[in-house]
Amino acid sequence: MAADSIFDEMYGLDGTIRSPYDGIAEWLAATGPATFATKREQADLLFQRIGITFTVYGNSAGTERLIPFDIIPRILTKPEWRILERGLFQRVRALQMFLADIYHGQEIIRAGIVPAAHVLRNTLYRPEMKDVDVPGGVYVHIAGIDVVRVREGEFHVLEDNLRTPSGVSYMLENRAVMMRLFPHLFTDNRVAPIDHYPSLLLRQLRSVVPPGAPDNPTVAVMTPGPYNSAYFEHAFLAEEMGVELVEGQDLFVRDDALWMRTTEGPRRIDVLYRRLDDDCIDPLAFNPDCQLGVPGLLSVYRNGGVTLANAIGTGIADDKSTYPYVPDIIRFYLGEEPILNNVQTFRCGRPDDRAYVLDHIADLVVKETQGSGGYGMLIGPKSTKEEQDRFRRLISDDPDGYIAQPTLALSTCPTFVEEGIAPRHVDLRPFVLTGRDGMAVVPGGLTRVALGRGSLVVNSSQGGGTKDTWVLED
């Protein structure tokens, strides 16, 4: 695709500065390269000292790395944000209804919108959750929706993350570091605040206590442990909310309740914000080889002794093979047209789509339906003949396991790289919170940036970086 057809967040399509970036453009012009170099070093030191690191898998065990932070913010206007917010709420609301439905009456299947086999034969569908009523009817308390922009006012949803989405701590720390390094930027630009995210999260979690819980319920964050890639975030959220950060070894099940071991004996937990996959949460019910969870937790949960956030079994709604159905899911439950578009998606399980994908693999992005974090995908235009052949074989062996999408012209944003300031592709992950009484989102989200020239892979596990994200007040 030609470079000039790519929308730039700062320069649009025609190279003139878009008005939300006026302040930043001035600042970039007025600040010398030496100052930027110093500030970037300071930012790295700050992240290093605060310990905002993530662990890289497949590397030597427990390698901590910094996520590269770029000091040029990504900016959205209030009107743009209003559209995004409405679209996000609409999408998440519909996905909640979808989950409630497939675990109860399954009307969407009977209506023929989503095939029964697609849901019931999917390993992410948890029969254990059938007819379980979750508190407040909320399945997805925290959703991270990956959005990309292709043009002025045109946003697409690339992916839904409805299991244990991560990245919100980077969103918050990026802002804290920016405010520390460049305080005057925040007096010159009216940037909507985001620091109240943890208090919103706590409020939403406390709203979904199980029946019979005390007035002052106990909330805890559950982590797989310090060697998990997102451990910093788990600790950060527990600290910001002022709740305990627990591991499986701290918990046990007794008398149809979940307890944590404290210095003064057992204490009951009412709401568990768990950052563990379904598979690992209870070795008696799911994967017996995973020892990070709590034996018997599923049974306590099913009997209403504790609330899990997110609910068990939400993976069926964010699976990449479900993604193509989401616009119809929105129409079915809400009777509305989707505000945010999907990206055109070919399902390799359909013969016509598969034939097209196999013929055009060099122009497409191929993804494993159950993969995440940028692992297990092929970027056609950037791939070698061998990689293309390998994916052709993978698709032919397991057509249902793959989808493909056209390579999108993700928007770019000016970014500091070795050659100076250059455009790099970005996406956006806003975090949508749902409680008993409604939904909430802080303005903005986490902007991820692909640091390689022309690269479209923004995942931090694949060398992507992050930026502070601003929503300007009117």
Partner: protein, 311 residues
């Protein structure tokens, strides 16, 4: 609080204190080795440093001959030695990382900054910097962590567990240091000059040189050094001082519950409070100090039973 958190706080306190104590032991060893009157005293001081830490075997297996260069490396930057200063900071930092949500950000940053500085340090860096400089730096890092704990953390149960770790580790270290030096310097007898240099070095290493003179206004004698480091209630590295605090923190933690650890600490505290150095000398200093070590170990185990294995 979570039992695991209590345990990790306790060990964070212990390991930071251990790093500082190692620095102090190296400090006194180097001072004594440099001013040794007999030609072989230098070597015996480096032996003693290993002996204090019960580390001679581990040392011999990897280094062979005991000498300054080997012992300094072994006790400071050796990545493989689990009791080196490097390993203590690494362990304290790993614990602190797991505790992120339970300690103040300034406590975490003080530990993490220490770790980032020592992480890539080489023997050459250490030589360039100078041993004494390095040891002073370690002491400062420990002071900084303690200061951050005192002034930025809630003085709640978590604080009490961190401090328990600090004081038990310190009591253990003071006991070992005293015992080793009494043994090694037994033959200096009553030579005032020898006493001044040798016991003076020990007092300096534990930061008590001035305190000694303020309290006794007299020449340095071994038995008064022992009195100061065992029975003095105002000397922060004395056993009495450590156990007064251990006892207080346990009282807070027990909050009216009758737990065995509190009784044990109280009983031992009373012995120190009403003890006399002449009686201790008559019973044999070495025997008394060995009892103290047993007591520290026993109390540590009981604290674990009372708070960390509650369910």
């Amino acid at each position: 609080m979570l039992s695991r958190t209590a345990e990790q706080l306790y060990w964070t306190g212990r390991y930071m204190e251990r790093a500082e104590n190692l620095a102090r032991i190296l400090d006194v060893t180097e001072r004594l080795a440099v001013q040794g009157r007999q030609r072989d005293q230098g070597a015996s001081e480096w032996h003693a440093a290993l002996d204090i830490l019960c580390a001679e075997q581990a040392y011999n297996a990897r280094y062979g001959d005991v000498g300054e260069a080997g012992v300094v490396t072994f006790l400071t930057l050796d990545r493989e030695n689990p009791s080196s200063i490097y390993s203590c900071i690494r362990t304290a930092r790993e614990n602190a990382r797991a505790l992120r949500s339970n300690i103040s950000s300034e406590m975490w940053e003080s530990i993490n900054t220490s770790w980032l500085a020592i992480r890539d340090m080489t023997d050459t860096d250490l030589q360039t910097q100078g041993l004494r400089e390095f040891l002073d730096w370690i002491k400062v890092r420990s002071h900084l962590f303690r200061g951050a704990s005192y002034t930025t953390a809630l003085h709640d149960d978590g604080f009490a567990f961190t401090r328990l770790g600090t004081f038990l580790e310190r009591a253990d270290s003071t006991t070992r240091l005293l015992d080793s030096k009494f043994h090694l310097l037994a033959d200096s007898g009553t030579d005032p000059a020898a006493n001044y240099y040798e016991w003076g070095a020990i007092l300096r290493a534990v930061g008590a040189f001035r305190a000694y003179h303020q309290l006794y206004h007299d020449v340095i004698t071994p038995i008064r050094v022992a009195e100061l480091l065992i029975l003095n209630p105002q000397m922060p590295r004395s056993l009495r001082f450590c156990f007064d605090h251990v006892s207080d923190f346990l009282e807070t933690l027990c909050a009216g519950r009758r737990l065995e650890c509190e009784r044990m600490a109280g009983e031992f505290c009373a012995q120190l409070r009403y003890g006399r150095i002449e009686r201790i000398e008559a019973r044999g200093l070495h025997d008394v100090l060995m009892e103290v070590l047993d007591h520290v170990a026993g109390l540590s185990a009981q604290i674990s039973r009372d708070f960390m294995m509650t369910v």
